[in-house]
Amino acid sequence: MFESLQKSLNSAIRTLRGRGKLTEANMRDGLGLVEQALLEADVSLPVVKDFVTRVADQAVGGKVLKSLDPGQQLIGIVYQELQRLMGPVDHSLHLRADGPSVLMLCGLQGSGKTTTCGKLGRLLHERGRKPMLVAADLQRPAAIHQLQVLGEQLGLPVFADLDAQDPVALCQAAVREAKSGVADVVVLDTAGRLHVDDELMQQLGRIDRRVQPEQVYLVVDAMTGQDAVLSAKAFNEALELDGVIMTKLDGDARGGAALSVKHVTGVPVKFVGTGEHLDALEEFHPDRMASRILGMGDVVSLVEQAQRKFDQDEMAAQEERLRKGEFTLDDFKKLLGQTSKLGPMNKVMSMIPGMGQLSDMMGDVDAEKDMKRLRGIVDSMTPDERRNPSRIIDPSRRRRIAEGAGVQPHEVNELVKQFDGIADIMKKMSSMGMRDRMKAMQEMTQGGMLGPGGRIAKQKKGTGKRLTPQERAKQKKLRDREARQRKREKKQQKRQR
């Protein structure tokens, strides 16, 4: 579902292409999909509503960048806004310089408080602190023993009293003990409780008032659903939280609750738990979390990079040539040059309009090294050779080029073949609309046109059937329409300047 968010966004707002501007009307379907994706990632509904409104406000009036699909662009905005709302980061534990600092963990039953208590103890110890863990869960059977086992594993002191009845008194006693010099940080492991349990929530408030912890953290399970807003709000009201720790992110939960909880409490997510072992605690990064919620891996950040780095005009010019079917080795080289600025080739291919499928086909070839080599070969060619490689380059020219680029002659041959393959695709696609481009891509993948190394080889046969006169006429109509549209756009751009 989420991998296809980008694709469905693209198709939902395909009509947008070429219209120049994002408006509320032409984005409606796209925003609906964003809303659905967020709900399926367990972001709470009121938060989703608010979020979508913000995104719409931001996106409306924005120009559609030529280098991106409108869908990609919208995802870019969604991604940036998600990141912004889950930030800014603050990984500091705000420990005091004088006297012992107290960290307090609270949360629902089974959210991961005790384990996180151990993880924080380990982290503090690593940073040269003297932590003490406090077993203040007097509710759950064997909870004290659980923390004692963790303390033993870590070689850290655990403050516990098997006969204790009152967690408030126990926490106070623990802090007193720390003050005598045994520890400089105290981590309180409190019992899990429901936010609707007034009595137990008041008890938390009492601990908070009596021991005045430096930091109070809410421990939240990454699998939490819509209820996250209600529980987080209640804990924040009872305690004034300073931060959130989200656990169990080692699974496949989208973790939309991170956004919900940040939204209702306003406090930063500090750490994430990524496993049951005590070293599985990481600092929180809004960008990673945003990608996770959208379920789109690196794609979103690539959109961002593309918006920054791509030379807009150059891209537009290239697309123009591409559409006309004029594609030379020089263009090929430029494309390689631009893409190498961005990173792995196969990922970058997905940035080029309609080329997402191609990147899938390429798999994970070591494309970067390959690209350097390819550029070197093109550099050793004369302008004539670049314009018309397959016709001009004979064995003697091939040897010369190979020597110049420091490669074997057969590699020159391979490049020319690869180029022919791509040029062929480009020419075919130049006459297609977006949907047909995608379809052609799919057909090529299925036809096994790509060699095992992911190299593109020139196709021997056509992609299937020949075009009928009607189809050709239809394509010409499409081409003409696109040409008219481009003219209109140019005019508009001029007017704007």
Binding site: Q36, L39, E40, A41, D42, S44, L45, L108, Q109, G110, S111, G112, T114, Q139, R140, P141, A142, A143, H145, Q146, L147, Q148, V149, L150, Q153, L194, H195, V196, D221, A222, M223, T224, G225, Q226, D227, A228, L230, S231, K248, D250, G251, D252, A253, R254, G256, A257, E276
Partner: protein
Amino acid sequence: MGLFDQLKQGLRKTTQLLNTDIRDLFKAEGRLVDDAVLEELFESLVKTDMGVQAARQIVDDVGAQFRARVVSMDELIGVIRAKLKELLAQPADPIRFAASGPTVIMVAGVNGCGKTTSIAKLTKMFRDRGLRVVLGAADTFRAAAVEQLGIWASRLDAQLVKGQPGSDPASVAHRTVAKALDDGFDVAIVDTAGRLQTQQGLMQQLAKIHRVLGKQVDGAPHEVLLVLDATTGQNGISQAKHFTDAVQCTGIVLAKLDGTAKGGVVVAIRQQVGLPVKYVGVGEQADDLALFEPDSFVDALFA
């Protein structure tokens, strides 16, 4: 307080929420059912965690029937209730006992969802019927997991079988059932360590426990219960799918329904995985278990 009352009390908050939401839609006698009404309805359903798909389906049904008509709240809720009942329809589904010999029950689920506590609750239920129960502490991983189950065993007068920390959970499970066979226990319940459904090694370990039990007693395990935390959102679907793939779950215990979480994801699970809910957990004590009855569940939601 009877179980049903407890359940009702647990669901009270949910009911209030759903009812206020929907009542707000119908200030006076009725309202014209249009896009806005349907969207509000969709939202109140999504808030139960039933998921976009299930909520959309219900709203579409209501839309098809009532769009452009002025209807009363009772009518509308009647339709939703019927639809939910249809989705969750199942005969009351308590533990199925072995025809002869010990009934073997395996309990699985993600970390912290409520497995061990649910086992305590089931044990209480069996003990109240005079059945003899042996518990297998096959969570050999989590700190003090054995001690936790041990405390429940002694509180409820059940037998405990345990192994060394870090030892093979399948061997603990095996010894538990062997004990049940040797000493004529009526029920053997095997606790397992929490694990995320994406951890393949751990899921294989779970499958191994399942295989071992099957070899010991014909038809065992007679029940494989997946414990699901009621606060879980859409990940519950993935949990139900993967655990069922690994160990052929026979039903769900929906724990922690005493909060404000609605556990609506079981609706989506029922649709997509077909797994029925058998029991619901409504508190931290051994008494806090109720049989899941879909009709009462839905009625309690809208009562």
